[in-house]
């Protein structure tokens, strides 16, 4: 039964309509200017976020993560991710205003951003594997196009083709996992699959494990888990910087939404030693990401590796979710924080590329004098990524590592995750600090101040306020994250 007052359905209708209408308008309109389409997309996304906020305020959203017979559930878990995704969508849209100036097909560009955003939002709300897959593709296909949007630039093309290749591969793998699950349990509803998994005959167990492994690989591709990350630096580097923001801050987080719903639940049902496996992947991922970032010369590529490192931190929360009440909430909180921090960093890069055409870190020397506001935004986001108090990244990292130590009561290896996380954070300061030094303490060739694009300044100011504000007064957001956490013990199949 379709409930038309449900949050995800209204969001789909709202944004879907806008996404389809934008290109139609452009066909009817003679003028070439892209501002109108950007404005429409921006308005629609702001309206969407306001709507989600309204639904939460009026308590039309079930708390925690709901499992229902429907394909979409109207719950806080989805709403939390929806807000994070929509923020990223808005930041990307506004950050693109400047990038799109003088480029072709603006209507399609903004339309694809809106459509991809719906996909991300729906992934978080899905309670059915097929629905999840459809949302996943809705999210992914527009981004394949967007990554190659700069069609005359070979590296943009390379980015798109690599991304598409691996996207297709992982989609296939996810479908494979879904088909195994369906074959074993006779359903694609996540709740049914989980409960079916928990009553499997022992002979069928290896197949179920294979399904979970497929899900890990398939979603892990988007998240950027090592060793499914290979495409990621090449793509983030080649894609237009605002699109890198969308990929790193948005689609990656949708992968976590899917992973939390499917992998964690499924693995709990199978009573596997899966959390240890995730813990190992977490440590490998963060160490790899941070080590590789140190030697990068290209700022987009450095941020790409940094986002691999952050995927490792978030995975800590996932792997200890069953042992500590804080784990999942911490992961969610860091998802939201990382979405804003990473989007801000990439949009700052977009601003730098658009005005000065610099991507090499060595050439950023003295940037603080040339682009003070952009530099400030970039520095604040880098410090937040490093987890320096009193910025938002500090609190979510603190929660993640605290949860890992807390989980030490149940599993002895959990505190080592915190140790690894702290060491990695220190390691990450090496390249964040290096970049900050370049911008602020080294003299560049020129000191002339350049005009910073207004749209970029707007994004920078918003993100500085968000990062500092949440850092100074994190409580409401922590409460929000806690209220959105799936209550793992309430799942019927867990004994």
């Amino acid at each position: 039964m379709l409930d038309f007052t449900s949050t995800p359905i209204i969001l789909t209708l709202m944004l879907g309509a806008v996404g389809v209408i934008i290109p139609v308008i452009s066909a009817a309109r003679k003028e070439k200017g892209g501002k109108l389409y950007g404005g429409i997309a921006f308005g629609a996304l702001v309206a969407a976020i306001a709507f989600v906020g309204y639904q939460i305020m009026t308590k039309n959203v079930a708390s925690g993560a709901l499992f229902s017979k429907d394909v979409l559930s109207n719950d806080m878990f989805g709403s939390f991710f929806a807000i994070a995704m929509l923020i990223v969508g808005i930041m990307t849209t506004v950050g693109s205003f400047n990038y799109m100036r003088g480029r072709g097909n603006p209507a399609v560009y903004y339309s694809l951003i809106v459509l991809s955003t719906i996909g991300m939002v729906l992934v978080a709300y899905s309670t059915d594997l097929v629905m999840l897959f459809v949302a996943w593709e809705l999210m992914s296909i527009p981004t394949y196009v967007l990554a190659g949007y700069d069609k005359k630039n070979p590296s943009s093309n390379e980015a798109a083709i690599k991304y598409f290749l691996f996207g297709a591969l992982s989609s296939g793998i996810i479908i494979w996992g879904i088909s195994i699950a369906y074959g074993l349990t006779g359903s694609t509803n996540i709740e049914q699959v989980i409960s079916g998994f928990s009553h499997l005959s022992p002979g069928m167990l290896p197949l179920a494990i294979l399904a979970v492994a497929m899900f890990i690989a398939g979603f892990g591709f988007k998240i950027g888990l090592v060793p499914f990350h290979m495409w990621l630096p090449d793509t983030y580097e080649g894609a237009p910087p605002p699109i890198s923001a969308l990929l790193a801050a948005g689609t990656k987080k949708a992968g976590f939404a899917a992973a939390l719903r499917v992998i964690v639940m499924g693995a709990i049902a199978l009573d596997l030693n899966w959390s240890f496996a995730l813990a190992i992947i977490a440590i490998i991922t963060m160490t790899f990401g941070n080590l590789a970032a140190i030697r990068q010369k290209n700022i987009s590529r450095m941020l790409a590796y940094s986002s691999i490192g952050h995927a490792g931190y978030i995975l800590i929360g996932l792997s200890i979710a069953p042992f500590s009440a804080l784990g999942a909430a911490a992961a969610l909180f860091h998802v939201l924080n990382h979405a804003v921090m990473k989007a801000a960093a990439f949009i700052a890069v977009a601003g730098i590329v658009a005005t000065l055409s610099i991507t090499n870190i060595d050439k950023l020397a003295g940037l603080a004098k040339r682009m003070p506001i952009t530099s400030l935004g970039l520095v604040v986001s880098l410090l937040a990524l490093a987890g320096v108090p009193p910025l938002n990244g500090f609190w979510s990292k603190l929660m993640l590592f605290g949860a890992a130590i807390d989980a030490g009561h149940v599993v002895s290896w959990a505190p080592y995750l915190a140790v690894a996380g702290v060491l990695n954070s220190a390691l990450s300061l090496a390249y964040y600090g290096w970049l900050i030094r370049k911008m602020y303490f080294e003299e560049g060739e020129s000191e002339k101040r350049v005009k910073e694009p207004r749209s970029i300044i707007a994004v920078m100011i918003f993100s500085i306020i968000f990062m500092v504000g949440v850092g100074v007064y994190p409580d409401p957001f922590i409460q929000f994250a806690k209220s959105a956490v799936p209550v793992l013990t309430s799942i019927p199949v867990i004994h």
Binding site: L210, V212, A217
Partner: protein
């Protein structure tokens, strides 16, 4: 008019005015500097006068043993109140501070004339007076501490006032070293030295304050005196005496007592009016005042069965040691201000000694009166001596007494006033305040009945001999004998050595006259203070005084004129004066013998002279231990540990990380086929991990 909305009685407004007005003056001074060059000086003098008059309006309170205690909310959330407490002790002290600062401000008009930074000078002077009166009138520790730090700051700013560090503004002899360290300080260096050394005491005081607060829950003096359960609780934890001694540490630092005495000598780099006001008459007395504030409080604890003898013994011994230590050095130095500075520390030692023995004796009020009386008389004659010395420096242009000599005909007024004030310091019998106050201290020590009475008394007596000697020496070296080469040189160049201007000599003339005038009525004055304090101690702390042995023993002497004077103490103090004066006269006034020859005639005299001249090596040792030594150690650590060991160790993580990063980077080939292989391998790895 109803002022009750302000939260305090309008009748107490003059008490607040005493310390607030100088601060207002300090704020007005920068504005006045815009109007005219001489503006700051006149504004400062005006505000000092009004503040002093406000203090004078409080005098009837002291005479009738009344007090004003007025409070306003300060930080209501923790129940802190700001308040003023004008009890007899505070009123007397406020008057001394108020009137002497007024006179010194007037003197500064002449002394500082033509200085390029008059605004800065008078700002800090006014700021100082406000802070000092805040100390005096505070009704609680915390507020007192604000004033305490305020005077410290002003002292720092004024010691280093001539921050351009010209040669003439230094202290010490250029090139002279003690234990390999220069005994020659610039104004900026001296400012830092004094600030840091007094901070040591301040931190002790702060800890003592909060220790008491932790038990009593209040900083208020009245509250602490009225309910002494805090003391019993602290005593049970063995914390009472340590807390009291920590508080005394603050007094030791501020009053330049042993072992924190060395900063006062270098403080002489400041302008002379600063030395007179801050480093002779008032700020260095803040420590004595603190002990006078706390002494009765601690002594009254005896009623609660708590023995505070150890505290008073520490106070008495620190005082006696300082008095002796600094007097010995005062005898050998040749810089006029430095001699006076040694003398100041030494005399403050006397006051501490008196307050200490007060607590050890049955008759608390005797020692208490003696200490405070000496504070008053010292404030008068030492301020006068300093200002006169300032005139000498001003006229002669050298800080060394060896550059003066034979000035009695050239500067007759200064000569007379210096004799008058000098007699006070020497303790000339029956005519100077110094005689009576010192005699009162001797009497108090002698009669205290403490087991330490005899050694303390002997030290005090020897110090008195030395005091008379060095004062006679100072006057002799400056005014008698032949003109020095320096003066002859000046006169040859056509410079006329002349008397200082009236705006300068009138202030120190007044104080010199008071030294003698009050001295003649000395005993009556002492009795008046004695009566005030007897009533004050009885009503505020319940310390009863009986008519003790003092009165009965001396009733018959000179037909009752010397009532309250101990005959033995009197005779010792007379002989001390006689010995010191005769020795001084022989060497420096009559010049029958050359002191340099005597010193060089005998290895023993030579060694002692050098020992005193090198300040008992205390300054050099402190410098080595706390400044130079740590610097060497730090340099050694840097050179041999940080540079060699740590740097080597630092390479390990650096190289490891760089190597790791290179390996990670090598996997990123950019070739899609290899990416796909790795992806496939990844699935296998995940499966493997799940199956384990």
């Amino acid at each position: 008019m109803d002022f009750s909305f302000l939260g305090f009685n309008i009748g107490s407004l003059n008490v607040w005015a005493v310390w607030i007005l100088p601060f207002v003056g300090a704020l007005v001074i920068p504005a006045a500097a815009r109007v005219s060059k001489a503006g700051p000086g006149y504004v400062a003098v005006a505000f000092a006068l009004v503040s002093a008059i406000s203090a004078a309006t409080l005098l009837p309170l002291a005479l009738n043993n009344h007090e004003i205690h007025s409070q306003i909310p300060w930080i209501p959330s923790v129940g802190l109140k700001a308040g003023v407490l004008a009890d007899p002790l505070a009123v007397l002290m406020a008057n001394i501070v108020g009137w002497i600062s007024f006179l010194i401000f007037v003197y500064s008009l002449g002394y500082m004339k033509g200085d390029r930074d008059l605004m800065r000078f008078f700002f800090w002077m006014a700021f100082f007076v406000g802070s000092m009166q805040l100390i005096v009138l505070s009704d609680n520790f915390l507020q007192l501490f604000f004033g305490w730090e305020g005077v410290g700051l002003a002292s720092y700013a004024l010691i280093g006032f001539w921050y351009r560090d010209k040669k003439k503004d230094h202290v010490g002899t250029e090139g002279r070293t003690v234990l390999g360290l220069l005994d020659y300080y610039s104004p900026t260096q001296s400012g830092m030295k004094s600030f840091i050394m007094t901070k040591v005491g301040d931190i002790m005081m702060l800890s003592g304050m909060f220790l008491i607060f932790a038990f009593a829950g209040t900083f208020g003096f009245k509250e602490l005196a009225s309910n002494t359960s805090w003391a019993t609780a602290m005593s049970a934890h063995n914390l009472l005496i340590p807390a009291a001694i920590l508080l005394f540490g603050g007094a030791v630092g501020k009053s330049a007592q042993f072992p924190l005495n060395e900063w006062l000598l270098e403080a002489m780099t400041g302008p002379t009016s600063v030395s007179a006001l801050i480093h002779a008459a008032t700020m260095v007395k803040a420590g004595v005042f603190l002990v006078a504030r706390l002494g009765p409080l601690f002594f009254a604890l005896a009623a609660a069965g708590l023995d505070m003898n150890q505290f008073f013994e520490v106070v008495a011994w620190v005082g006696a040691i300082t008095a002796f230590l600094l007097a010995t050095q005062g005898m050998v130095h040749t810089e006029i201000k430095k001699v006076l500075a040694y003398s100041t520390g030494s005399q403050i030692g006397y006051m501490m000694l008196a307050l200490g023995v007060a607590g050890l004796s049955r008759q608390f009020v005797d020692g208490y009166t003696a200490g405070f009386f000496h504070l008053i008389s010292h404030a008068m004659f030492k301020a006068s001596l300093f200002m006169a010395a300032g005139s000498l420096l001003h006229v002669v242009g050298s800080r060394f007494m060896t550059d003066m000599g034979g000035l009695r005909r050239l500067m007759p007024k200064t000569y007379i006033f210096m004799w008058a004030a000098g007699l006070g310091l020497m303790g000339a019998p029956f005519i100077s305040t110094g005689f009576w106050s010192k005699d009162a201290i001797f009497g108090a020590v002698y009669q205290s009945g403490s087991s330490w009475a005899l050694p303390l008394f002997i030290i005090a007596a020897i110090t008195a001999v030395m005091t008379t000697f060095y004062t006679t020496r100072l006057i002799g070296m400056v005014f008698f004998g032949n003109k020095s080469k320096h003066i002859e040189h000046l006169e040859k160049e056509g410079y006329h050595v002349h008397e200082a201007s009236p705006v300068m000599w009138i202030p120190y003339g007044i104080l010199a006259a008071l030294t003698i005038g009050v001295g003649i009525l000395g005993l009556a004055f002492e009795h008046q203070i004695h009566d005030i304090f007897t009533a004050y101690l009885a009503s505020d702390f319940g310390i009863k005084s009986s008519v003790g042995a003092v009165a009965t023993q001396s009733q018959n002497l000179l037909g009752g004129f010397l009532e309250g004077v101990n005959p033995l103490a009197l005779s010792i103090s007379l002989s001390a004066f006689a010995v010191g004066f005769v020795l001084g006269y022989i060497f420096y006034i009559g010049r029958f013998a050359d002191p340099a020859k005597v010193v060089n005639s005998n290895i023993f005299f030579y060694a002692i002279h050098k020992f005193f001249l090198n300040r008992w090596y205390l300054d050099a040792l402190i410098n080595w231990t706390f400044v130079v030594g740590p610097l060497y150690v730090a340099r050694g650590i840097y050179r041999y540990f940080e540079d060699k060991v740590m740097e080597g160790f630092n390479l390990v993580p650096e190289k490891t990380m760089a190597g790791g990063a290179r390996i990670m980077q090598a996997t990123q080939t950019g070739i899609s086929q290899s990416y796909l292989y790795i992806f496939g391998a990844g699935i296998l790895i995940v499966l493997l991990l799940l199956f384990i």
